[in-house]
């Protein structure tokens, strides 16, 4: 069997490689030097991606809950039950919604949007991770007029300066980390901003400490420092006119440290300089402002849209960018068309045969709370949502939970109808990389049992709920996406050209960035300690990791060692409290308290307590569903 070229399902770097197939099973991964993203280099997850489809617990036949038990049924029965229960829930005046996913292809996410805003006539379609990414895009849009950064991961290798708002990209986005390592070898100065030491901070020429959730204090100061330091882009500033003065005035209160001034100076002076934002744990407004700061910094110094000066916002997981781009986002129609855009409305009506619902949707957390019926495309909300336990309760309360997945996840317990779909190794379609490349996913083997490709299942649901819809393949869905999008973005979807990134025309769309005043930066309230989730989310709960015998080992060992969870403290904090490795500590916040064993994490700032995302539910009384909170820590 010939090796099949496809795209990595894990992180949004979007590395290409070949799946090696033997006797109808994926048995290995072959790197591709010709692939423009990976250029032959993959991380451990990419190298292990053939395992879960072959070793994992697969869903192989449609299931329906009957008297509390899951029973196999025919596709016909399952699809009918799914459609009927959704319609009945809606008719009873209750809210229904659809969850897309970073684990699903663009085609599947798009059909999820069409299912919601078209066939089911509900505005609630979103992914569990949209809230971690969309606000950053909105912040870029405020300044640049588009919901995207620019440049590629490969561009990073040639940068003289890289400003990295760090989570832990060596773990979350290894290809980005690799590019940074190579840039540094070539003499690049790396500046990291973060509260938690990571492999990247250890390589930094300058590491700027930030308070978790308040990284914006640093980015705001960077803009002020750059403006004070001169070396600005005259054309942009002249064009901004009076708004530039307003910008300057808005920065008057900024506190610029020496480190921030140096970093801003390096960035402004470099020919090729990058800004990279790793997934952050902060509220939406803060994220939006942070991205606005960084876009302003890039624009004012002339780096915005300059070839060789990338501005990269890293989505937390695989196809999160694609999911948002095709419309799994409360405030947009496909292609980030505003809901108020009549042109977009009639364009979609032309394509869908029904006018799209153009109301604002709920975010995933609200939707889960309010809705009584939901379609979930390739996701386990209990593993991905900030409050996993709440998501579980919410799903339990629902009248119908239609779950499409390739793997058995804990969400299975909560589903009323299960529709088995193909995993990435058996699916055709596209995913969008963090740089905007639309990349091809190709089926290497057949789906197990009665499982079908996700796009085909969603198309069948659409057909039952609305005007007859038939696609002769995932490619036909992609071509429909191109027609559903605003023309400038749609162009990128018409032909999948893997070597190409976001075209320049789409990048600036003829617009100049609009510089203007930045929102004031609230002072950081002093707190004894701040507890924060690690920015890595929980790879261990991703079925592609969990079911890979090679990849699951670290997270499985952690869960075995600390079944009830743990928190990470600095050496300084542990010494001060007089606790040793594994001893219990009590965390108290305004919301409540919890006790957990303490584990030392080298180089953590003294006032920071890291709560592993996998164990967030154990610490829920303290965190109260927030990613960051002020806490007092004591020996328990």
């Amino acid at each position: 069997m010939d090796p099949v070229l496809t795209t990595c399902p894990f992180c949004p770097c979007g590395c290409g490689f070949y799946l090696h197939v033997q006797d109808g099973r994926t048995e290995g991964v072959i790197p591709s030097e010709g692939d423009p993203v990976s250029r032959g280099r993959l991380c451990a997850r990419g190298w292990g991606s053939h395992e879960a489809p072959a070793w994992g617990e697969r869903l192989t036949e449609p299931l329906m809950r009957h008297e509390g038990r899951m029973r196999p049924v025919s596709w016909e029965t399952a699809l009918e039950a799914a459609a009927d229960s959704l319609v009945a829930t809606r008719r009873a005046g209750r809210t229904i919604g659809v969850l897309g996913s970073a684990r699903a292809t663009n085609e599947e996410n798009y059909l999820a949007v069409r299912l919601a805003r078209g066939a089911l006539q509900t505005p609630h379609v979103v992914s569990c991770l949209t809230a971690t990414y969309q606000p950053l895009l909105d912040g870029l849009h405020d300044v640049t007029g588009r919901h995207a950064g620019s440049g590629t991961v490969a561009d990073l290798e040639h940068c003289e300066v890289i400003i990295l708002v760090e989570g832990d990209v060596a773990v979350t986005h290894p290809q980005v980390a690799g590019a940074i390592v190579r840039a540094r070898k070539a003499g690049c100065r790396l500046v990291t901003i973060g509260a938690v030491a990571s492999q990247m901070t250890s390589l930094a020429a300058l590491s700027i400490a930030s308070t978790p959730g308040r990284e914006r204090a640093v980015t705001f100061a960077l803009v002020a420092a750059a403006l004070a330091g001169g070396r600005l882009d005259t054309a942009t500033i002249v064009a901004a006119g009076a708004s530039f003065d307003a910008l300057r005035r808005s920065l008057a209160e900024a506190e610029v440290s020496e480190a921030v001034a140096r970093a801003a100076g390096w960035y402004a002076q470099a020919q090729r300089a990058a800004i990279v934002v790793a997934p952050l744990v902060a509220d939406a407004a803060e994220l939006r402002r942070l991205a606005g700061d960084l876009a302003t910094l890039a624009a004012a110094t002339g780096h915005l849209d300059r070839d060789g000066s990338p501005l990269l916002i890293l989505p937390a997981r695989g196809n999160l960018r694609g999911a948002c781009e095709v419309g799994a986002s409360p405030n947009f129609l496909p292609g980030f068309a505003p809901l108020s855009d009549d042109g977009a409305g009639s364009r979609l009506e032309g394509v869908w045969g029904v006018p799209p619902v153009r109301e604002t949707g709920l975010d995933a957390a609200q939707m889960l709370t309010v809705a009584r019926g939901v379609v979930i495309v390739a996701e386990d909300p209990t593993a991905v949502m900030p409050a996993g336990a709440l998501a579980r309760e919410a799903l339990r309360r629902m009248e119908c939970v239609v779950l499409l997945d390739a793997f058995a996840t804990p969400a299975l317990e909560l589903a009323t109808v299960v529709l088995p779909i193909a995993s990435f190794a058996e699916n055709d379609g596209t995913v969008t990389g963090l740089d905007g490349r639309v990349r091809q996913v190709r089926a290497a083997v057949r789906p197990p049992g009665k499982a079908r490709p996700g796009w085909a299942v969603l198309a069948a649901m659409l057909g039952r709920l609305g005007p007859a819809t038939e696609y002769h393949g995932a490619e036909e869905v992609r071509r429909e996406i191109a027609r559903a999008m605003p023309p400038d973005i749609g162009a990128r979807w018409r032909e999948v050209d893997e070597a190409r990134v976001v075209p320049r025309a789409e990048r600036n769309g003829g617009r100049r960035p609009s510089l203007g005043p930045l929102a004031p930066c609230e002072p950081i309230k002093p707190a004894p300690s701040v507890a924060v989730w690690d920015g890595v989310l929980d790879w261990g709960s991703d079925p592609l990791v969990r079911y890979s015998p090679t990849l699951c080992r670290d997270s499985a060992a952690q869960r075995k060692l600390f079944p009830g969870g743990f928190v990470e403290l600095s050496k300084e904090a542990m010494d001060r409290l007089g606790v040793r490795q594994g001893w219990p500590v009590r965390l108290k916040s305004a919301g409540g308290e919890a006790v957990a064993p303490a584990v030392m994490r080298a180089d953590l700032a003294a006032g920071v307590v890291v709560v592993p995302f996998a164990f967030r539910d154990a610490l829920a009384p303290v965190m109260g569903g927030h990613g960051v909170t002020s806490v007092a820590v004591e020996r328990a």
């Binding site: 070229l5 290995g28 072959i30 032959g40 451990a44 080992r553 670290d554």
Partner: protein, 350 residues
């Protein structure tokens, strides 16, 4: 190689020869793949062979050591579980392989025969015959010359071809190799002295073409073997490794594995799968204790195994054939030449 045993085959006749090989064995050769890559895979026609390509990024190691390698099947019988070994003894020809990869397989075979013989591996390897093409131009990142693994081979090969323009000189280095050439004697003729002389000229020229920039194992070996590399240096090196495992996966001499059972329609297949000594979990014990928890310990382990005198004595070679693949696949910058240089100089410039 004695002059009398060398033969030549006109390039126009190689297709015929390969065609005959395909009739009798599974022939694996470098072929073109979608994204412009060259990949070793089973061919069904001589035209699929990509002659003269750079050494494929993915080594032909999977021919003897598949990424997922079934070792035994386990099924339920009348009297409990029935365990049966799985042997793969299909005759295979690895055609168009470069010298370093022949040496790599030779290394693996020695290693799997050593101490407790690994029957599954050895049976597969015994059924494999290689037809290598000597390298008349060194590949850009290769340093096989420092590892006694190329550009031409003096031993360990079955059949070695040298490109003489319109024909190949074919040297037979083993009985297995003879069995590929003898039945097709009509396609070959005995080499003339001039052709053999030309082969030696090409070898000398190829060696000279490596230039001064090579990989100096000797002094690195001295330092690694007596523990004269500081923990700080290992830390620094580890700081630029992203624990992807690629160095191990593409290394022609790496064989770390893990064992897992795969359920397949009512029975299980116990598989050996590729693993990496750079993974934290590789040495984690059931208790949770990990003797190589620190990243630097894992990096140190890799290079100790590859270049220490202790292993050199046991294996008779450094655990590196100089193919240069780790330079290309390393997600960080922690490849063999870079680390050997760092060990020699006592400083890391990654």
């Amino acid at each position: 190689m004695q002059v009398s045993s060398a033969r030549t085959i006109g390039k126009e006749r190689t297709g015929e020869w390969i065609g005959r090989l395909i009739e009798n064995a599974e022939v694996v050769a470098p072929t073109a793949a979608q994204a412009g890559d060259v990949i070793f895979r089973k061919i069904s026609s001589p035209v699929e062979v990509q002659w003269g390509s750079d050494n494929p990024l993915f080594p032909p190691k999977q021919v003897v050591l598949p990424q997922t390698d079934p070792l035994v099947t386990i099924s339920r019988g009348a009297d409990g579980l029935v365990v049966e070994p799985v042997y793969d003894e299909r005759p295979r020809v690895l055609f168009g392989v470069h010298s370093c990869d022949v040496k790599g397989i030779d290394f693996l075979t020695r290693m799997h025969a050593y101490d407790l013989a690994d029957t599954a591996y050895l049976r597969r390897a015994a059924a494999l015959t290689s037809v290598s093409v000597a390298c008349i131009t060194p590949c850009p990142l290769g340093f096989c010359i420092c590892c006694d693994a190329g550009p031409f081979l003096a031993e360990s090969f079955d059949v070695q071809l040298t490109d003489l323009g319109d024909r190949f000189l074919a040297e037979v280095g083993s009985e297995k190799g003879g069995r590929l050439v003898e039945p097709s004697a009509d396609l070959f003729r005995t080499a003339e002295a001039g052709e053999v002389a030309r082969r030696h000229e090409l070898e000398e020229a190829a060696k000279r073409a490596f230039g001064p920039e090579t990989c100096h194992f000797a002094s690195a070996m001295r330092r690694v073997s007596v523990g004269r590399v500081s923990a700080e240096l290992w830390d620094e090196i580890a700081g630029t490794c992203l624990e992807c495992g690629a160095c191990n996966f593409v290394c022609p001499t790496c064989y770390c594995f893990s064992v897992k059972d795969q359920g397949r329609d009512g029975h299980w297949v116990r598989c050996r799968t590729w693993d990496s000594c750079q993974f934290r979990a590789f040495t984690r014990e059931a208790s949770g204790h990990n003797p190589r928890e620190a990243h630097r310990e894992r990096v140190k382990r890799r290079f100790f195994h590859k270049v220490s005198a202790q292993y050199f004595r046991r294996d008779g070679a450094v655990g590196c054939v100089g193919c240069g693949r780790c330079v290309k696949v390393c997600l960080g910058t922690t490849d063999m030449p870079a680390v050997v240089a760092a060990i020699r100089k006592g400083a890391w410039h990654g």
